[in-house]
């Protein structure tokens, strides 16, 4: 089990190094126009050259990379080019916002998908039909369009909830709830669409196993067979879905934050990408990878708990 987790950590570190390197060379190779972009159309060539030198992007790529890595391992991701402050400060400010939305979304998604999937697997009937419809509708409607329509309906027409903005949970729990309700709703629909179907499949699979018949023959009651045995065996498949969906939600958040003007990591990425604030982009990519690695590790631990074959490896 320790060996298994160590292998997963090693995999995460390799992923971090490889992806940050690829990203570095891709984003830093496209920096010729950055100084001009930042200074605007009226800037003189001398100003542009000066800024280019100040940012250090006139140096060879490898030198820049060595510098960046050297600082990064000490927790210093450099300064932002287009706003004031260091990248780590900006990320520290933005990250809790995105995480609060994404973790709420994954929680909602997991609960709703589990309930829908289990009911559909066990009962069939209306829940099965509902899942079929959700799986197509949820997939077909882009989350940002759904977000826009929710804004039109609940913010503009009904005026129940704010159209934009973010309030942190610590400053006002009810304000936070009002602010995240629409974004989270827009974000989770497609996740529920695919996750609920996969939960349904996993539970049906588990219930079709031979040992279920044997447990019934042994006099074990249906409740225990479903909740103790079938769900336990369906859990690894469900956890895989969760880890895939978490990544999808992180990506989806980027667009949703734009729709609802939420000052999170996603909104930061979009702005930095358009203007070319390369250090911030690097910071975002590194942060995202670390978050994904940590979440996947948590899921691996849960998987090892559920699955003795993994645990006793």
């Amino acid at each position: 089990m320790t060996a298994y987790l160590l292998r997963r950590v090693a995999f995460g570190l390799v992923l971090l190094v490889v992806m940050s390197t690829i990203t570095f060379f891709l984003v830093f190779s496209g920096t010729e126009r950055v100084a001009a972009n930042i200074l605007g159309e009226t800037a003189s060539n001398a100003d542009i050259a000066a800024l280019t030198q100040k940012l250090g992007i006139d140096r060879p790529l490898l030198v820049q990379y060595g510098d960046w890595v050297g600082n990064a391992v000490q927790g210093d991701l450099g300064d932002a080019w287009t706003t004031t402050g260091s990248v780590t400060e900006i990320l520290a400010r933005r990250m809790p916002v995105t995480l609060s939305i994404v973790s709420t979304a994954i929680l909602v998604m997991a609960v709703v998908s589990a309930i829908l999937g289990i009911v559909a697997a066990v009962r069939g009937g209306w829940a099965d039909g509902l899942i079929q419809v959700i799986s197509i509708v949820g997939f077909a409607i882009p989350n940002f369009w759904l977000g826009l329509m929710l804004v039109v309906l609940f913010a503009l027409n009904l005026q129940w909830l704010p159209a934009t903005g973010y309030v942190s949970f610590t400053s006002s729990p009810s304000g936070w709830l009002a602010a995240v309700t629409l974004p989270v709703t827009a974000l989770v629909l497609s996740g529920i669409a695919s996750a609920s179907q996969q939960v349904r499949g996993a539970v049906i699979d588990a219930l079709n196993q031979d040992y279920v018949r044997t447990l019934k023959a042994r006099g074990v009651n249906m409740r225990s067979i479903l909740f103790r045995h079938a769900l336990r065996n369906a859990l690894p498949a469900a956890l895989t879905v969760l880890s895939v969906q978490f990544v999808a939600l992180l990506g989806g958040a980027a667009i949703i934050e734009r729709v609802f003007a939420i000052p999170g990591l996603g909104e930061l990425t979009v702005r930095s990408a358009v203007i070319g604030d390369v250090p911030v982009l690097m910071g975002v990519v590194v942060t995202m990878i670390i978050v994904v690695i940590v979440v996947n590790l948590l899921i691996d631990v849960m998987n090892a708990w559920a699955n003795p074959k993994v645990r006793l490896q």
């Binding site: 950055v34 336990r232 699955n307």
Partner: protein, 586 residues
């Protein structure tokens, strides 16, 4: 002559393919999805003919106008015709989605074929790459690469194709791995086919339908993501796109909220059709397994089951039992009017070939028919109780306590996630209502009783840590743990090695004598019957052809089918003598 046969072959294959396509189109949803996708495709191709205006035609007075006879869906924030832009947007959308699908499928399928077929290091390495790609949110990567890739959405979609390739990779790899272990691939290798030909002929044949389904889903994802990028302003502003239109509508949300609907609807309908088509194809592929709806079948006529006068030493009495499964328009009977009775303390053999209904008869007694199965008529009287009249919960109360079951496959009948001990303790606690501690004590005694050398250790084991023979002993221990009156053993030794079989049969005989229970032994093996049974019923095609005392049956089989079966048992007094073939000796 050969020409004729080759055209015949082509025509049967063509027939098969058209009929598949036809059956997808005959499904109303499949037809609807196909028509919508065709309309979108044709619109994209003939955009200049369909669109009333040039997509960049600006009329300054029509900024954000409501739908009119002129601008059918209204004007956008710059005074351009929304409908015309929608039509041209289809073009851009389909091109982008095609690029993503092509790149993803090319990389994923090739990689999956190679990794699945050759395995080893290639497999490990490519699986790492796939896992790595899947660990990253695609849209963040595309955003980060935006400066490097430039505003060409096509390049971004190609990169997105790479990010989506793990879907194809995993699908192909797992399909190839399952096909690769099929014996027909071994047969092809023995025949001298090259790896390339094996993949081409055998493996691609099997994976093409799932790949088509995956492609259609990936196309949907690509359309949504592409629109997302354009919505964020990362596209070429001079080209009309659905995502770009949404961005424009978003900027004018407070002025013309209605403009938000059109591009979104275009995306949703196109993507929805792709997913719908994928679902229809998938359902069509799985149709063979799906049972017909029970509600459409004639209701089974409830026959009053005569409470027969049975003698006291009869434990189980089955009369005119009919078991059916839903078939095409009627119940397909798998057990046809079976009558038999099992005495207390006897071992009753139920013997027959596959499909004879012997297992279904046993499951009917347990009340555990597979999904859809039903007792259509007849009675099963167990110790004076008519089992067919019992409610599910009454039946449940009998199972495990008075009627027990030993399955065929020991390994798949233990829950892999729980320790052996718990799997013995749990049913005892729930059936006998004893404490966990007492149940554990009894379980350990049982494990020792069924001949497992280290009960304490086995108790702590998970199923994958013990052998098949041990697992079967565990299952037998579980079956007798509540001292049942009747034990139903369904081919209990078929999956075991012959020496293990002899030991397990000996154990069952011992336990039968010790507990005085009756055993119904379902088997296809006349040796096992001769070894174990007091009475034998021979089944064929759902019916009992002969019931007799075991010694009598073997000495003088009454039915010709029984005689035929016994004649098929191989018992050769003489063996073959070897003589080299003529060519070889010459």
């Amino acid at each position: 002559m050969t020409d004729i046969s080759s055209t015949q072959q082509v025509s049967t294959q063509a027939l098969k393919r058209t009929s598949f396509l036809w059956s997808v189109l005959r499904n109303p949803l499949g037809l609807l999805a196909t028509i919508i996708l065709l309309v979108v495709l044709l619109t994209a191709i003939f955009a200049p003919a369909v669109a009333p205006f040039d997509p960049s035609h600006v009329e300054i007075f029509k900024v954000n106008v409501a739908p009119s006879s002129d601008y059918w869906l209204g004007g956008d924030g710059s005074g351009r015709d929304i409908f015309s832009r929608l039509v041209y947007g289809a073009r851009n959308t389909l091109v982008g989605a095609s690029i993503a699908v092509a790149v993803a499928a090319l990389i994923g399928v090739t990689g999956g074929l190679a990794a699945g077929y050759y395995g080893r290091i290639l497999d490990v390495a490519s699986s790492w790459v796939a896992d790595g790609l899947m660990a990253l949110p695609a849209i963040i990567v595309l955003l980060a690469f935006f400066q490097a890739l430039g505003s060409s959405i096509h390049l971004s979609m190609a990169v997105f194709g790479i990010m989506l390739s793990p879907g194809f990779f995993r699908l192909t790899r797992s399909l190839v791995r399952s096909v690769r272990n099929e014996l027909y691939v071994d047969a092809a290798r023995v025949s001298g086919l090259s790896d390339f030909r094996i993949m081409w002929r055998h493996i691609l044949l099997v994976i093409r339908a799932p790949v088509v389904i995956q492609a259609s889903i990936v196309a949907g994802i690509a359309i949504v993501i592409q629109a997302g990028l354009e919505f964020l302003g990362l596209g070429d502003a001079s080209i009309p796109t659905w995502g770009g239109m949404l961005q424009d509508a978003f900027d004018n949300l407070y002025v013309a909220p209605i403009s938000v609907y059109w591009p979104g609807l275009a995306i949703a309908i196109t993507v929805g059709s792709l997913v719908l088509l994928a679902n229809v194809i998938r359902d069509r592929m799985q149709q063979g397994d799906a049972p017909p709806k029970v509600s459409r079948l004639p209701k089974p006529e409830p026959k009053p089951s005569p409470i027969s006068s049975v003698s006291d030493d009869t434990l189980l009495d089955i009369r005119d039992l009919v078991v059916g499964y839903p078939g095409k328009g009627e119940w397909k009977q798998v057990v046809k009017a079976v009558t038999m009775s099992v005495k207390r303390g006897e071992i009753f053999g139920l013997v027959g070939e596959s499909g004879s209904g012997k297992t279904q008869t046993a499951f009917a007694v347990l009340g555990l028919l597979s999904k859809g199965g039903r007792i259509l008529s007849g009675s099963i009287t167990f110790d004076g109780i008519d089992l067919t009249a019992l409610s599910a919960s009454q039946m449940h109360a009998l199972r495990g306590k008075r009627i027990a079951y030993v399955p065929q496959e020991p390994m798949s009948n233990l829950d892999p996630s729980f320790r052996i001990g718990w799997q013995l303790v749990e049913p005892m606690v729930s059936v006998l209502g004893i404490s966990q501690a007492e149940a554990k004590e009894r379980a350990l005694a049982l494990l020792a009783r069924v001949g497992l050398p280290h009960p304490e250790r086995v108790f702590q084991c998970y199923p994958h840590q013990i052998s098949g023979g041990m697992a079967q002993r565990v299952l037998i221990a579980g079956a007798v743990s509540c001292k049942p009156d009747l034990l139903i053993a369904d081919e209990p030794t078929t999956a075991l090695d012959v020496t293990v079989q002899a030991e397990v049969l000996e154990l069952m005989r011992d336990l039968q004598a010790e507990y005085g229970m009756s055993i119904i032994l379902v088997t296809h093996n006349f040796g096992v019957v001769a070894d174990m049974c007091d009475t034998v019923a021979v089944m064929r095609d759902g019916a009992v052809v002969e019931t007799a005392e075991a010694r009598k049956l073997f000495a003088a089989p009454g039915h010709e089918y029984t005689r035929m079966l016994l004649d098929s048992v191989l018992e050769d007094p003489d063996t073959r003598t070897y003589s080299p073939p003529k060519e070889a000796s010459a």
